[in-house]
Assembly symmetry: C2
Homo-oligomer: 331 residues x 2
């Protein structure tokens, strides 16, 4: 079981004051100097248990030596979310939180835990968005970052893919503008069907590599993705989706939209880790980012599993993630 | 203005008898020996005017020397379609036609026109599906084929992308199972929004290459694609989509699903022409096809315009298409 951290009157980038609850869970113990900590952020619809997959296992982080903080993203159903917030901010009335807001809140939690320094921040997918934000805005306390299948900002194409799944979900009359009486199942099924085409690669489907996941058909992959998303409330999904669509480390007072300057401000050692067949967090975007970062290495996950490979559930991805974490913690 | 060719009692692969109307248009004149003909097939939602873009222009086919037949696909709004067929086969009750059915009908038209031999069959996208079918089933009368951004069968991933846009359109309550009173606009808008992410590449959006098309934003590209599809009736779109989802040159009595045998039967000289950044008709699929074809060359369109580049509207694609047509007609 995790804990809840409360931030009274957090002021969002949009200017709204809101009492934010961050759900988190820790592993291991903080050392006396407060500098053996690692933050792991969550992915789209993922919660702390899935974040743990990134750093767990035999080759994962040594919990006897580190203090790991797994932090749930706002709107993921455990931290403050449309589904768990009382009126007047419930459901479709829940405020918009940016990645910048998320990480500003995460920093308050980290400080409240007595952490002086983070040896590593990592995360998969939307966790990668948060990881870049940590490196950019909180370089004073971060030694290393490992964004996995993520980016420093949403690309226009990624924005569009997300807007397509959003549009499909909202078409379901049961969705009722977010004021649904029960889950908009048909909308969620279309959402998952469209999303599935993006989350895995063309080769994955051509070669029926889903059998490695215990699935036996394209339709069963769609069902797997549906089950994955339908665990979450529809407004929670759309809240996180809005966060994703507006991700950009430079969209704040400090950088005023100067993306290259924001990348240049990431002084932490970074391993930027896209997958070669990811259809939305592309290697080309990562290459551009690394070019402008002073202390970054591009390290590819060579895989035909597409975006999905970075979640820690696919062995050929996990081994690359493990090695990068070991490299970053060794310095 | 084009002409209409009627085929009484065509028996579909599914076993239904139907009087098929094929809309077509010709350019140039058939020579005395009946062997200077070229067939150009149509793409998804495209009609003969767009097919003409592939072979037109200064570097296009010499109409003084060739007899070009532009043939509209079934369900494209000009040939027999849900939108122009009387009860009991109107709207959602329109029969399912495969690519095999389409080309079997096209052959009857070609013979009725007095054509003895086709020097070339070409087409873009779904036109590429039909082009492969011509080469496979009608090798007795075809010298050369040029499938542009197409394939010999729908890939599982391509099927899935199509199923996503289908699902979105059908979610619109206005669609009413195909028995709509007026166009299901919201569904068509979601359909176009999702489709746009597939039709062009990630780089196209990152580098704002839509300005080359006179468009100024991601949203304006979505609008462009919406206008492109919303010209067509929704049931027509879904009829063509079903045809696409079931495309496979080997799914017939002759080959019984043996895809490699069907490819091996394509004796015509072939230039298989995918685009390097096409997200659904991928170069990897084309490579597999060419490997099994006895007389085929893989010739890439190197472009960041994705699938769209093969339609003849983008200069960097058209110049490659023109050269391939010239090569194939020169032999």
């Amino acid at each position: 079981m995790g804990d809840i951290f409360r931030i009274d009157g957090y002021r969002t980038q949009a200017g709204l004051e809101f009492d934010v609850l961050l759900a988190y869970r820790t592993l291991g113990n903080l050392n006396a100097s407060g500098d053996n900590a690692v933050v792991v952020t969550t992915s789209y619809s993922g919660q702390d248990d899935e974040a743990e997959l990134l750093i767990g296992g035999e080759q994962g982080i040594d919990i006897d030596a580190h203090y790991v903080v797994l932090i749930n993203m706002i709107s993921n159903g455990l931290s403050s979310s449309p589904s768990n917030t009382a009126a007047p901010f419930d459901g479709p009335r829940f405020p918009r939180f940016t990645v910048h807001d998320n990480v500003a809140c995460q920093r308050k939690l980290v400080e409240a835990l007595g952490i002086k320094h983070l040896r590593l921040v990592t995360g998969f997918s939307m966790g990668g968005l948060q990881t870049f934000e940590w490196g950019c805005q909180h370089g004073d306390m971060v030694s290393a970052i490992l964004p996995i299948c993520g980016a420093a900002r949403v690309s226009p194409h990624n924005w569009l893919f997300l807007d397509g799944v959003r549009a499909a979900l909202e078409l379901d009359p049961e969705f009722a503008g977010g004021s649904y009486a029960s889950a908009p199942e048909a909308g969620l099924r279309a959402f998952a069907r469209i999303y599935t085409g993006w989350a895995l690669s063309q080769t994955f489907f051509r070669e029926a590599q889903y059998t490695a996941l215990g699935l036996d058909s394209v339709e069963s992959v769609v069902g797997f993705v549906y089950d994955y998303f339908a665990r979450r409330d529809a407004n929670d999904l759309l809240g996180m989706l809005w966060t994703w669509q507006h991700a950009d480390i430079s969209k704040n007072d400090r950088f005023g939209g100067d993306f290259e300057a924001a990348l240049a401000a990431i002084s932490a050692r970074a391993i930027v880790m896209p997958c070669t067949t990811d259809l939305y967090f592309t290697t080309a975007d990562s290459e551009i980012e690394v070019k402008h970062m002073p202390n970054a290495e591009l390290r590819l996950i060579e895989s035909t599993f597409g975006h999905f490979v970075g979640g820690g559930q696919v062995p050929e991805g996990k081994v690359v993630i493990d090695a990068a974490i070991a490299d970053l913690l060794a310095t």
